[in-house]
């Protein structure tokens, strides 16, 4: 994975996240929501599992399979506290435990963010990228992460793109992870005139 490719992936992630966070903004419209700042980073595989404040910290993870012209996976993760805040902002309810409606709200939010990300990329590249019905897990960060990496068949030297967004006024943190298959990533790169390898 050379530097140019990394930069390109970073740029894609930035654009995608920009759209995803705009969507988030719109969903929380009229509520205490202001600026959202995406921040793209590359993480080596081994470090990927331990970055949300510890492996044992509880997070909410949404995971989808991407099909169409581009195959791969995507995930959206929130620390539990952020997830609770999001549920409160989306449903108007503040319960100690996350109930079925709360889970449903998170799943829908994750679905919209991931799909907005892919819609943006699709428009830029003319490649169809369809997300599946999402899976949702609320569990220890380490467990969720490794399940995502294993499910996406990520191994070896593949790098994980992570973009972080946060909102001022409300402590909301989220991470979008884009994991295209190697070949399909090259497909996207080619649409931008970038050479393979």
């Amino acid at each position: 994975m050379n530097e140019m490719k990394l930069d390109f992936l970073r740029e894609l992630a930035n654009i995608g996240t920009g759209h995803a966070t705009t969507a988030l903004s719109q969903m929380l419209d009229g509520k205490l929501f202001q600026l959202v700042v995406p921040d793209a980073q590359m993480l080596p595989f081994t470090e990927a599992a331990d970055y949300m404040g510890g492996l044992e910290k509880v997070v909410v993870g949404i995971f989808v399979v991407i099909s169409g012209d581009v195959q791969g996976h995507m995930a959206c993760l929130h620390p539990l506290e952020s997830a609770r805040t999001l549920i409160r902002l989306l449903t108007g309810e503040d319960k100690p435990e996350i109930d079925e409606m709360g889970r449903s709200a998170l799943q829908e939010l994750g679905n919209i963010m991931v799909t907005s990300f892919l819609n943006a990329l699709s428009k830029m590249t003319n490649l169809l990228m369809m997300p599946s019905v999402p899976g949702l897990a609320i569990d220890m960060a380490g467990a969720v992460w490794e399940s995502i990496l294993a499910g996406a068949e990520v191994a070896g030297e593949v790098t994980v793109i992570r973009t972080r967004f946060s909102a001022e006024g409300e402590a909301i943190e989220g991470h979008i992870i884009f994991l295209p298959d190697e070949d399909d990533f090259n497909k996207i790169a080619r649409q931008f005139g970038l050479e393979e390898h």
Binding site: A23, Q26, T91, N111, L118, N119, M130, S132, V133
Partner: protein, 120 residues
């Protein structure tokens, strides 16, 4: 008499959100479907004036459901409400017979506007 609407979406949260918007604006939600299969069954049972349809759903997806409902009732008025806004998908949905395509997240006004326009 209020126009009747069948809501189709795989998440309870979105069904609840849509129901609130639709009912506040003078329509009657007569049913909720959690996937395309339920939408087809409920359409036949309830014969709603309007249908909102998600695309990405388990069991039977929205495009298939649109096609099946249009077969049952070529006059069916289906409005797609989906996060999936990529052009080929929009074209496919409209070709299958949907009358409008709203990309999530949409605001209440947009939904009502579509219901009024398509419902008349």
């Amino acid at each position: 008499m209020a126009k009747t609407v069948l809501i189709t979406d795989d998440t309870a949260f979105m069904r609840m959100t849509l129901r609130n918007v639709i009912e506040k604006n003078g329509y009657e939600v007569v049913g909720e479907a959690a996937n395309g299969e339920e939408a087809i069954t409920l359409y036949q049972e309830l014969k709603p004036d309007l249908v909102t349809m998600d695309i990405t759903m388990p069991k039977v997806d929205g495009i298939t459901a649109i096609k099946e409902i249009m077969k049952i009732d070529p006059q069916a008025k289906i409005i797609v409400c989906s996060a999936m806004g990529q052009k080929p998908m929009v074209i496919e949905a409209l070709s299958a017979g949907a009358k409008d395509f709203l990309v999530k997240p949409f605001d209440a006004e947009r939904v009502v506007e579509s219901l009024r326009k398509i419902g008349s």
